[in-house]
Amino acid sequence: MIPAFAVIVSSIYVSFGSEYSIGAEATIIVAIMATTTFAGLFLLLLGRLKLGNLMRYIPYPVTGGFFAGIGYIFIQGGLTVASGRDADLGSIADPQFIQLVTPAVVLALCLIIGKVSRDNRLSVPGILLLSVLLYYGVLAIAGISRDEAAANGLLPVTDTAGTLGPIFHFEYLQEVKWLAIWEQLGGIVVVALLCSIMLLLDVSGIELIAKKDLNPDHELEVMGYTNVVNGMLGGFPGVHDASDTALADRLGGKDRLMVIVNAILVAAAILAGTEFMELVPTFLLGGLLIYVGLEFLIDWLWKAREELPLSDYVVVILILIVIIFSDILQGVTFGFFVAIILFVVNYSQLSVIKIETNGSDHASNVDRDLETRELLNKEGHRVLIMVLQGFIFFGTADKLISAIRNRIMEVEYSKFDFLVLDFHHVSQLDTSAIVTFSKLAQLSDRVGFHIIISSADQKSIKQLVKHDFFTFGEQRLERHYKEQLDTAVDRFERRILRDLNLNAEEQNLELHDVLGRIAHEEADVKLLSDFFVIEKRRTSEYLFNEGDRGESLYFVGSGTVVVVLKVQDQAERILRKYKAGAILGEMAIYTGENRTASVRIEDDAVLFRLDKDKLEEMSRRFPASTAALHTYIVKVLSERLGRANRNLSRYI
């Protein structure tokens, strides 16, 4: 912020011909007031727009690097205060610099040792008080006067006398060059932006110091109002300062009393002047700053090496290096980009394919007769199902197409003809991923496989449509979208049945046909058929409802029957479909429990009903024929259980 202000101040001064005048001073002061007020209004706006939560996107290692950087700045500031000159690497060769900073460094080390050996709230202030007494004692014994000490850099010189205020007089207003202020608008906006960035960074740091969550929007508003008042009073823009707050915290200042004492002394300095600072030995403030700086470095460089993963620790180190050679904002910005790159690299290591399965293990929710189901199980390898997950972007999209290519290259028997890509767990696609899907469309045309995208959101579908995913090529191969994975798999199951010249779902089975698959002897078929009732049901009728007593089982002769889940205030959800040859309602017959779901007729259906009492009568009179029925039902249930187990194993 200081460089931005330096530009504003010097530019205004130049506009007055680089000569001091009341007008120049008034214009500089009003420019600062305007900048502070504008920064306040900007912070207020950000808070009102609830943009403070942007802070939550600051990665932890960036906050760590920020604190390590603050540690370095404290040490550098401490050396500068103690020596009275800018501290850089070249200073080490200067004996006078070494002589002046040595007491400060010794004091900092004493403070650290003192805190380690006897950690209480008064250990630091106690050592500081002792060092001041020791210092003035040595001066007295050596006979060194205050002026001599100041001349040798042992005490500071403030170059001011008397009160510092008032800084602005109303008669200054007529001297203000408003155009010169207007010309600094760019700099004023930069200061407001820097204030907001610094505040969000500092709030993130203060949360660690305070060990509590703060509401960043509230803090933005607080500093917004504060800076509006600050601007009116002629103050320099300011926001919460994590470094000062940390310094106070480490010295034991954890309550409002600390801030009040600070405010009283600062107000006293404004009213009475800063000459009293000339009594404070330079090594005291220098040593204090070095001590806090060392503590930050110990926490974020030494201790963090074991606490943070290597990649995060490297980010901390890199931020510190940039801060050393540039400034804190550039360091944090650089660290932020490094953290983003690391995140992208790490995230791209995650597999975009959550589950890979095939049509045998993940059948559709359409129940057909046992023979057809077994046939589909056998042909299931022809359907490759990939349940995708996460954000599909340039880092992961290529891995998806590589995985599909690998399946194509695999041994012949596992070659797939149909590909289902389920997007239920996909959060978003970026443009690179869309381009990859265009490549996939080309691959499907070249190799010859059909694709269905399922469970994608409207935004993803629109992107795919826009890039001709569904319409690419000559359209001899299907590329469709279905709302659910089950419907997508069902679509391909029907394709397989059509390839095998079986059109199972369009069948109109007679009771004789159904029972013929159960009992192979004609005589048994005849015996069993006497116990069944043929029911013709219309579309939308309910066969039974959830909670009803289970008194019958049904075979579907034709049409479609669906199991539905009714949820209050929501549309019915279809759980399963039953086509010709399928059996339903058998669970309640065996367990004696009530119906667990409702069953509705989807398309006009012919059903063959077997009531519980009829089944019992059948068992008594024709046990051998009934055994065939039981065996058939056990086979159906075993097939369903086996498929469910195989499917489940993919999710474990």
């Binding site: 001011t160 203060i206 803090e219 504060t226 320099f236 309550d255 600390m258 801030v259 004492v261 404070v280």
Partner: protein, 67 residues
């Protein structure tokens, strides 16, 4: 309780010394380099900023010991 009271007073005092020292240094860098006569109002501007920000923070922020 007593040590906490004293620690808050001492830390507040030390923070004030650091703030005043920083204000003097920044004023020298920012204002006095332009013109020595801007040094005094410069220190005042910086200290008013420190004072108002500190008071606003401790009164309204979610953390009362914020500087």
């Amino acid at each position: 309780m007593q040590s906490s009271y004293i620690a808050n007073i001492i830390s507040g005092g030390l923070i004030a010394l650091v703030n005043i020292s920083v204000a003097v240094s920044v004023a020298a860098l920012l204002f006095a380099q332009t013109d020595q006569r801007l040094m005094v109002p410069g220190i005042a501007i910086l200290l008013i900023g420190t004072l108002v920000t500190g008071l606003g923070g401790t009164r309204f922020s979610g953390y009362k010991a914020v500087v």
